[in-house]
C-alpha cells in the first residue's frame, strides 16, 4: 500500500513547490519554475491515481471503511489533559494531522489534482508574457496544497486549515494584478465575504465538538448513525445551518455569492481553477462529508435545497444579459453550484457529487477556453466586441462548443446525466414544495442553455465586431494552452458515462462507488423523502423506473434545445451595435438584470458608504459603520478602560507604598528613634570620668539589688 501509506506526500508536493517559489522564485528561470511547480502537481496527480487505485482494493478487503493515516496529534493530547465538558458528559479533545481517503475524497482528489494539473500546464502558456511568473505559480501551488489538505483531512479542524488556506490563496490570486484598484478591491471582497462564512463554519464546528464530543469525521458519523440523536435535534440543526453558512461563503450561494463575479479580476487560469473547479466545490464537499448530520436535521436540508434552487435561478437570470465573457461564466458557476446544493438538500448526495465532478471538467474547460479567446483577442473580454472567431481559433471553438453542449444538458454529454439526476431526485422528493423546486431547476436549465449558447454565438458566430487590428492579431493559442482544452473536452464527453442511470440501462457506477459514504445508519429512520424507506434498508436510490422519469428527461432535453434555438435566433447574426432582445422588449427587466438586481448597491447601502443611484443620493444605513463604531468605541473602549483601571490601581498602590508603608512603617520608627535621641544625647559630655561614674553607680546599684533582694 505504498501510495496509501504516503498519502500525506500528495499535499506536500505542491507545498514544497510553493516554498521553493517563496524562497528562491525570483532568481529562477521560467523553465525551472515550470519544472518545479507543474512537476509537483503532475506528481501529485500520479500519486493520487495510485492512492485511489490502492484504496479500492484495500476497501474491498476492509468492509469499505475509510482509510485513515494519522501523522501526529496536532491539537489535544493523548494524556487526557484537554478534557472538556460536552453536552452530556465529557470528552477528550483531539484533532490530528490525519488524512482520510474514502470514496468521496477519492473523487475530489482525482479531479482536483487532474484539473489542477491541466490548468498548471495551461498557465505556462497563458502567463508566459506576464510579470510575476514565479509568484503566480507559487500561489497556485499553495492553493493546491490547501485544497488537498481540505479534501484529505480526517477532522473538521484540519479541514478548516485548508479552508482558510484556499480563501487566502483566492485573495492572493484574485489580487494578482494588485496594481489595479479593481483587482485589489475584488480580492478584499472575496476574502471578507469568505470570512463571514468562516465565522459560521467555526460556530458549527464548536457546536459539533460540544454536542458530539469530537471533531473527527469517523467519530461524528458514528455518533450520528448511532441513533443517540433524534431527527430534528435542535443542536444538530443549528450546527448544520451554521456549517451551511460557511458553505454559502465558500461556494458562493445567496447571500454570500457577491464575491465570485468580481473575482474575475484575477487571471483566467485562476478563475478556472479556483472559482470553477475546486475551491467553490469545497462547500459542497463539506456538506457532503457531513451528510450524516444533515440527514438528522430536515430543516437544514430544506434550507439547503431552497437556497440552492434560488441561487441557481437568480444567478442564471443575471447571466442572461452580461456582456463580459468571464462574468457570464462566473454567474453560470454560481448557478451550477446552486444545483449542487439543491441536490444535497433533497438528499441526493451522490447526484450532487456527480454534478460537481462533471461540472469541474466543463466549467474549467469553459474558463480556459475563454482565456484562450481573450488571449486571441489581445485582452478583449467584452462579447459585444467579438464575433466570427470560429474559423480563426478552431480548437478553442470546438472545445468550448463541446463544453457548452455539456453544460446545457444535452445528451450524451456529461452535464445531461448529472443535471437530470438532480432534477429527477428533486421531483420525487416527498412534499409538494419539491415540485416547485423542480420547476425552478427546470427554468434554470432553460436559462443556462440560452445564455451559454448566447455566449457561443456572440463569440464565435455572428459578424465580427472588433477593430481591424485586433482582427488581424487573432491567432490560435499555443499547444500548452490548447492541449488541456482538448483533454477537458474529452472528459466532458465521456465523464458522464460514469453515472449512466439505471433507467437508461446503465449501472450508475458513480453512485455505487459513493455508497459507503452516504449509507445511513441502522438505527436511523428517515422522515420525509418518499425514498426514505428504501434508503434505510440500504438499497439503491431508485429501483424501478417510472415513466415520469423518462418524461422529465425528455423535458430537460427539450428545455436545452429550446434555449439553444432561442439563442441561435437572436444572436446568430448579431452585428455591430446589436440590441439585446430583452432590452428591446422589456427594458426595466433588462436594466435590473444588467445591474445584477442591484445587490451590491444594496449591500453598500446597508453596510458601507453612500450610494448614488443615478442622480438619487441615498442615505446610508451604515451597519458597517455602526459596527466599526462599536468596535472602536465600545470594545476598544472597554479594553482601554481595563488598561486605565490597571494604571489607576498601580498609582494608588504606588502612593500607598511610598507614603504609608515606607513613610509610616519604615521611616516611622527611625523618626521616633531620632526624636527620642535628642534628649538622650544631652547626657553625652565626652568626659571619661563621667562615664566611669555612671558605670560605678550602676555597679553599686547592682550590688544593692543582689544583696537586698
Amino acid at each position: 500500500m505504498l501510495f496509501l501509506d504516503h498519502i500525506w506526500i500528495i499535499p506536500l508536493l505542491p507545498a514544497v513547490g510553493a516554498a521553493i517559489m517563496f524562497f528562491f522564485g525570483r532568481r529562477l528561470q521560467k523553465a525551472t519554475v515550470n519544472a518545479v511547480c507543474v512537476g509537483a502537481v503532475v506528481l501529485a496527480f500520479l500519486m493520487a491515481c495510485g492512492a485511489v487505485v490502492q484504496y479500492t482494493s484495500w476497501a474491498d478487503a476492509n468492509h469499505h471503511q475509510p482509510y485513515q493515516k494519522i501523522l501526529y496529534t496536532w491539537l489535544g493530547s493523548d494524556t487526557g489533559h484537554l478534557t472538556y465538558a460536552t453536552h452530556d458528559g465529557s470528552a477528550n479533545f483531539q484533532a490530528d494531522a490525519g488524512f482520510l481517503l474514502d470514496p468521496l475524497s477519492s473523487i475530489w482528489l482525482l479531479f482536483v489534482t487532474g484539473v489542477g494539473m491541466l490548468i498548471h500546464i495551461y498557465s505556462t502558456g497563458y502567463m508566459a508574457h506576464e510579470g510575476g511568473y514565479y509568484r503566480f505559480f507559487g500561489y497556485l501551488n499553495l492553493f493546491m496544497f490547501s485544497m488537498l489538505t481540505l479534501i484529505l483531512a480526517n477532522n473538521y479542524a484540519l479541514m478548516f486549515v485548508g479552508w482558510e488556506g484556499v480563501g487566502l490563496c483566492s485573495y492572493l490570486l484574485i489580487g494578482f494584478y494588485f496594481q489595479r484598484k479593481s483587482a485589489s478591491d475584488a480580492a478584499n471582497k472575496a476574502f471578507i465575504v469568505n470570512r463571514i462564512g468562516d465565522a459560521g463554519f467555526l460556530l458549527g464546528m464548536f457546536f459539533i465538538a460540544w454536542y458530539m464530543g469530537s471533531l473527527r469525521y469517523t467519530d461524528v458519523i458514528a455518533a450520528a448513525h448511532s441513533g443517540r440523536f433524534a431527527i430534528g435535534d435542535p443542536f444538530i440543526t443549528a450546527a448544520t445551518l451554521l456549517l451551511f453558512v460557511g458553505a454559502c461563503g465558500k461556494s458562493a450561494q445567496l447571500p454570500l455569492y457577491i464575491w465570485l463575479p468580481d473575482a474575475m479580476e484575477g487571471p483566467t487560469p485562476v478563475s478556472a481553477l479556483i472559482h470553477a473547479a475546486t475551491m467553490v466545490t469545497a462547500g459542497v464537499y463539506m456538506v457532503a462529508r457531513s451528510n450524516a448530520l444533515f440527514v438528522l436535521a430536515p430543516t437544514s436540508m430544506k434550507t439547503v435545497a431552497i437556497i440552492g434552487a434560488l441561487t441557481a435561478i437568480f444567478a442564471a437570470s443575471i447571466g442572461l444579459v452580461q456582456n463580459d465573457i468571464k462574468r457570464v461564466l462566473a454567474y453560470s458557476t454560481v448557478s451550477q453550484l446552486g444545483y449542487m446544493f439543491l441536490a444535497l438538500g433533497v438528499g441526493a448526495f451522490a447526484a450532487g457529487v456527480f454534478h460537481v465532478f462533471t461540472h469541474a471538467f466543463f466549467k474549467a474547460l469553459l474558463f480556459l477556453g475563454a482565456g484562450s479567446v481573450i488571449h486571441a483577442m489581445s485582452g478583449e473580454q467584452d462579447m459585444r466586441n467579438m464575433g466570427a472567431l470560429s474559423e480563426k481559433i478552431p480548437i478553442t471553438y470546438r472545445t468550448m462548443f463541446i463544453a457548452t453542449l455539456a453544460i446545457a444538458g444535452i445528451p450524451p454529454f456529461a452535464g445531461f446525466f448529472s443535471k437530470d439526476e438532480i432534477l429527477w431526485q428533486t421531483w420525487i422528493s416527498e412534499g409538494g414544495a419539491y415540485r416547485i423546486l423542480w420547476f425552478i431547476g427546470y427554468l434554470t436549465a432553460l436559462m443556462t442553455a440560452f445564455y451559454m449558447f448566447r455566449l457561443i454565438y456572440l463569440t464565435f458566430y455572428s459578424k465580427p465586431r472588433m477593430s481591424h487590428e485586433v482582427e488581424h492579431h487573432v491567432h490560435e493559442s499555443p499547444k500548452s494552452m490548447t492541449m488541456p482544452l482538448v483533454v477537458l473536452a474529452l472528459c466532458s464527453v465521456f465523464a458522464g458515462f460514469l453515472g449512466w442511470p439505471h433507467s437508461l440501462g446503465g449501472s450508475d457506477r458513480f453512485a455505487k462507488f459513493l455508497d459507503p459514504v452516504f449509507a445511513r445508519g441502522e438505527a436511523q429512520v428517515l422522515v420525509e423523502e418518499g425514498k426514505g424507506q428504501q434508503l434505510a434498508a440500504g438499497e439503491k436510490e431508485e429501483e424501478s423506473t417510472s415513466p415520469i422519469e423518462y418524461a422529465l428527461m425528455g423535458l430537460s432535453v427539450a428545455a436545452a434545445l429550446a434555449g439553444w434555438f432561442a439563442a441561435s435566433r437572436f444572436y446568430r447574426d448579431a452585428d455591430k451595435g446589436y440590441v439585446e432582445p430583452l432590452a428591446a422588449s422589456a427594458p426595466p427587466v433588462y436594466t435590473t438584470l444588467v445591474n445584477k438586481y442591484y445587490v451590491d448597491e444594496g449591500y453598500d447601502y446597508v453596510f458601507t458608504g453612500r450610494r448614488k443611484l443615478g442622480d438619487v443620493r441615498l442615505g446610508v444605513l451604515g451597519l458597517g459603520e455602526a459596527s466599526a463604531w462599536v468596535d472602536t468605541n465600545v470594545i476598544d473602549g472597554a479594553v482601554n478602560a481595563a488598561g486605565w483601571m490597571t494604571r489607576l490601581t498601580a498609582r494608588i498602590s504606588g502612593w500607598w507604598d511610598k507614603w504609608i508603608i515606607d513613610g509610616i512603617g519604615v521611616n516611622g520608627p527611625a523618626i521616633l528613634a531620632r526624636m527620642l535621641s535628642y534628649p538622650a544625647r544631652l547626657f553625652e559630655f565626652g568626659l571619661v570620668q563621667w562615664y566611669a561614674l555612671v558605670m560605678t553607680a550602676g555597679l553599686v546599684g547592682l550590688v544593692f539589688y543582689y544583696v537586698y533582694h
Binding site: 553625652e684 559630655f685 565626652g686 568626659l687 571619661v688 570620668q689 566611669a692 561614674l693 560605678t696
Partner: protein, 115 residues
C-alpha cells in the same frame, strides 16, 4: 585569739575595701591623667590584698577546699600584678597620645565626643 588587737582576715578585707574606695574616688575625681592611672593601680592592688587575705584564710581551714595547698588566691594575685603592669604600659601609651593631641594632661579637657 579574739581580742580587739588581734589581726584577723576581716581587717585585711576592710583595708582592701578602703584602698579600693580611695582608688575609685581617685579615678572619678582627679583631673590629672597620671593621677588617674595611679588610682587605677591602687584599685588593682586593693584587689590583690583581698585575694591574698582570702588565700591565707583558706590555708587556715581544714576540709576539701582548705589546707596548706589552697594557694589559689595568691596565684591569681600574681596574675593580677602582671596584668596591672601591662595595663600601666598601655595606659602610659594612651597618655602620651593624649598629650600629643591636646597639649594638656587634664582629663576634662578632652571631650571631643561631646554631642
Amino acid at each position: 585569739m579574739h581580742g580587739l588587737l588581734d589581726i584577723s582576715t576581716l581587717h585585711y578585707l576592710v583595708l582592701g575595701a578602703a584602698l579600693f574606695l580611695l582608688g575609685v574616688i581617685g579615678v572619678l575625681t582627679r583631673r590629672n591623667v597620671v593621677i588617674v592611672l595611679m588610682s587605677i593601680e591602687l584599685i588593682l592592688n586593693a584587689v590583690n590584698l583581698n585575694l591574698v587575705a582570702f588565700s591565707r584564710y583558706w590555708q587556715g581551714m581544714s576540709g576539701p577546699h582548705g589546707g596548706p595547698m589552697a594557694l589559689h588566691g595568691q596565684v591569681f594575685a600574681i596574675l593580677v600584678i602582671t596584668d596591672a603592669a601591662a595595663e600601666a604600659a598601655v595606659g602610659l601609651g594612651i597618655l602620651i597620645a593624649f598629650f600629643r593631641n591636646k597639649e594638656t594632661v587634664n582629663v576634662d579637657e578632652v571631650n571631643l565626643l561631646k554631642w
